[in-house]
């Protein structure tokens, strides 16, 4: 006799650990990318992790005092201090005999690209031994969708209204961090959890400053459907708007996913309320810029080590 049930079980293969360090009861919006980012990162880092979270969505998502939805300790730190709070915490832990705990600065794009960039640059220049994760939802979402320097060209926010939509490109934070020659810079995406997991695991085994930039859709701020979050993450990579790559020691660039056929940016943009006002000309400009950046990235990889 056949045993069809047993056969079925054998087909099931897990690509991520079952352990959960994040629990229900958190305060995120439906379809929040930042929440998935935390869940996957903690799966890779495990319980001996400490987080420094500045003002950002996650300072609310975790839950109000005295609650927390995470199994790891958190230092809620000042807005512009994620990186250095983490470096200070790491130094303190080492001085009291804990050399094992991974200290992670966990900040949004505003806390990273804008107000936190000074302290982050200081930490990176000294190569302090922390992991810095930026979950990027491309605007100040916690305060109600104001533009940041991570907001892409063309996007609507409450401070870049449709008539004056953002007319400057997104700041190239990855290149800025790579220019500090830190051991590891990587982009990741919640729609590619295995790639994300692998990168965090890799970062975990490196000493020094490690920077992981995670693409994290925000249905509330992007005016998208919560059920589209994963789809958007896929499209961001397939259109080359948010490529997945790694940079080691600031010199070796490696692209992780190269779409066989680049999808047109329009497909990505038109799913989002924040881009719906864009004219064909504006979309063409965005396409051009995305193509240029992709070509440059290919060149970086080709000519590595730079």
């Amino acid at each position: 006799m056949n045993h069809p049930q047993k056969k079925k079980q054998n087909k099931m293969r897990l690509t991520l650990p079952l352990e959960e360090y994040m629990h229900s009861g958190h305060l995120a919006c439906q379809g929040c990318g930042a929440t998935l980012a935390m869940r996957y990162v903690l799966k890779a880092l495990g319980q001996r992790t400490a987080l420094c979270i500045p003002a950002c969505c996650w300072s609310v998502i975790d839950g109000p005092f005295p609650y927390s939805s995470l199994d790891v300790p958190i230092f809620h730190c000042a807005f512009e201090t994620a990186a250095i709070s983490a470096a200070g915490l790491k130094a303190g832990l080492e001085m009291v005999g804990d050399h094992e705990t991974q200290v992670v600065a966990w900040a949004g794009d505003g806390g990273t690209f804008d107000i936190g960039i000074q302290a982050l640059s200081g930490v990176a220049e000294r190569n302090d031994d922390i992991i810095y994760v930026c979950y990027d939802n491309e605007a100040y979402m916690n305060t109600g969708i104001q533009r940041s320097s991570a907001t892409p060209f063309g996007a609507w926010t409450t401070t870049t209204p449709v008539k004056h939509y953002k007319n400057r490109p997104k700041k190239d934070i990855d290149a800025i961090l790579a220019a500090h020659r830190i051991p590891y810079v990587a982009t990741a995406n919640i729609s590619y959890p295995e790639d994300l997991y692998r990168k965090v695991l890799k970062a975990k085994n490196i000493k020094g400053t490690r920077f992981i930039h995670i693409y994290a859709p925000c249905p509330s701020g992007w005016k998208t459907r919560p059920e589209d979050t994963i789809k958007l993450g896929k499209l961001a990579v397939q259109t080359c708007i948010f490529p997945l790559f790694e940079v080691e020691e600031g010199s070796t660039w490696k692209i992780n996913i190269k779409p066989r056929e680049k999808k047109p940016v329009e497909e990505y943009l038109m799913r989002q309320g924040r881009f719906r006002h864009l004219t064909a000309e504006a979309i063409a400009l965005i396409q051009e810029e995305v193509d240029r950046r992709w070509a440059r990235l290919l060149k970086y990889e080709e000519t590595s080590p730079l």
Binding site: G63, F65, I74, F75, A87, V96, Q118, G122
Partner: protein, 383 residues
């Protein structure tokens, strides 16, 4: 061991003897020697500490907070603009109940750029929930650091050790540098009630609703109210071991004084010279040096000043639109307790010298008038 030390190095030795574990600092004149010596001590392994050479004072304090939360003893030093840049995080330290000790060299605030002393930098931080110790000598600087750690760690309240730019920071004096062994006996390792560790995962400083926030601040004030007695007690314990006494205030010939000069910082020692000078002429003058501004030593100030016929408060600072800050503090402490007239003098802003001559004018004006002739009396200003 007796050494000839500048005020800044007295701070470094105080930190070293306190066995600080994490130092994070950024250079600013006139603080630089504090951290230069500490970084040398770390490099030479005389001091087992991590020195984080940050890119700003804001980050210096942030690093101290992270390290303190992990349970490490932390120290930093700054001055003027640097302290102002730290302002946000000074609240974070006291609100987070992290007993960091900070050395601040009193320097006038820009603009115009000034590197010389006055107290507006530290007094602008009066309400941040830090204890403030104003020092009068290099020995006091060293001793204050060690005692401040002891008090701060018991109460979980941060402390600021304050010294005048140049007139103390760069002035060399003979300082007794006590034996490490003896200091260890006085100051045990930092053992916080709570610290951040994955072994006991807590979230520190998260969103606090109106249901809880009020009580946290109430508790901070209640613990601050315990500080005056603890500072006195710690001072006595220190005296038993080291033979030197430090308290909330430092009175000089106040018992029979008719005029008491109220001062802070190095001005107190100039005032003593004036006190002796005028006593020789038969005028009963005394000096009350306020060493601790926060917590305010209400009882000491009330009991000492209410015996006098007149009180003259000398401020090297100003709260624009009001008066000198020590003047406000002293008046508010005396209100309802004593009707002694309080004269307010502002002098020495931006490092203009305060000399015997300055006190001569202050004493003469106080003597001449029954009550203060003007709300603010400016001494030595070119009007």
């Amino acid at each position: 061991m007796r050494k000839v030390l500048m005020g800044n190095h007295a701070l470094s030795y105080g930190a070293m003897l306190s066995r600080v574990q994490v130092v994070a600092a950024y250079p600013i004149t006139p603080q630089t020697q504090v951290v230069e010596l500490l970084s040398e001590m770390c490099a030479e392994k005389i001091l087992d500490a991590q020195f984080i050479k940050v890119e700003s004072e804001h980050s210096a304090m942030a690093a101290c907070l992270g390290a303190s939360l992990a349970g490490a003893r932390t120290f930093t030093a700054t001055s003027a603009q640097g302290l102002a840049l730290m302002h946000e995080l000074l609240h974070w330290a006291s609100g987070g109940r992290l007993p960091v000790v900070l050395g601040n060299i009193n320097r006038a605030m820009a603009p115009g750029w000034s590197i010389w002393t006055d107290q507006n930098d530290s007094l602008s931080q009066r309400d941040t929930g830090w204890m403030q110790f104003y020092c009068g000598s290099n020995q006091e600087v060293l001793d204050s650091v060690i005692q401040a750690f002891k008090v701060a760690e018991k109460l979980h309240i941060p402390a600021m050790i304050i010294l005048d730019a140049f007139s103390l920071s760069h002035t060399y004096e003979i300082v007794d540098v006590p034996d490490q062994e003896k200091v260890d006996k006085f100051l045990p390792p930092f053992q916080p009630k709570f610290r951040l560790t994955p072994d006991e995962p807590h979230a520190f400083g998260g969103l606090t609703s109106p249901e809880h926030y009020f009580e946290l601040r109430y508790k901070l004030q209640k613990d601050m109210e315990k500080a005056p007695a603890l500072i006195e007690e710690t001072g006595q314990e220190f005296e038993e071991l080291f033979g030197r006494k430090l308290g909330l205030v430092d009175p000089y010939k106040c018992d029979d004084a008719e005029i008491i000069l109220v001062t802070s910082g190095t001005t107190g020692y100039t005032a003593r010279v004036a006190v002796d000078h005028f006593r020789e002429k038969g005028l009963k003058v005394g000096n009350l040096r306020i060493r601790v501004l926060r917590p305010f030593p209400f009882e000491k100030v009330q009991s000492i000043l209410s015996h006098a016929k007149k009180v003259a408060v000398i401020d090297r600072n100003i709260s624009y639109g009001h008066h000198g800050i020590f003047y406000q503090e002293v008046k508010s402490a005396l209100y309802g307790n004593s009707s002694v007239p309080v004269f307010g003098y502002i002098t020495g802003l931006g490092g203009r010298d305060i000399t015997l001559n300055t006190f001569q004018k202050i004493i003469e004006e106080t003597q001449r008038n029954e009550t203060p002739p003007e709300r603010i009396s400016w001494i030595g200003v070119k009007k």
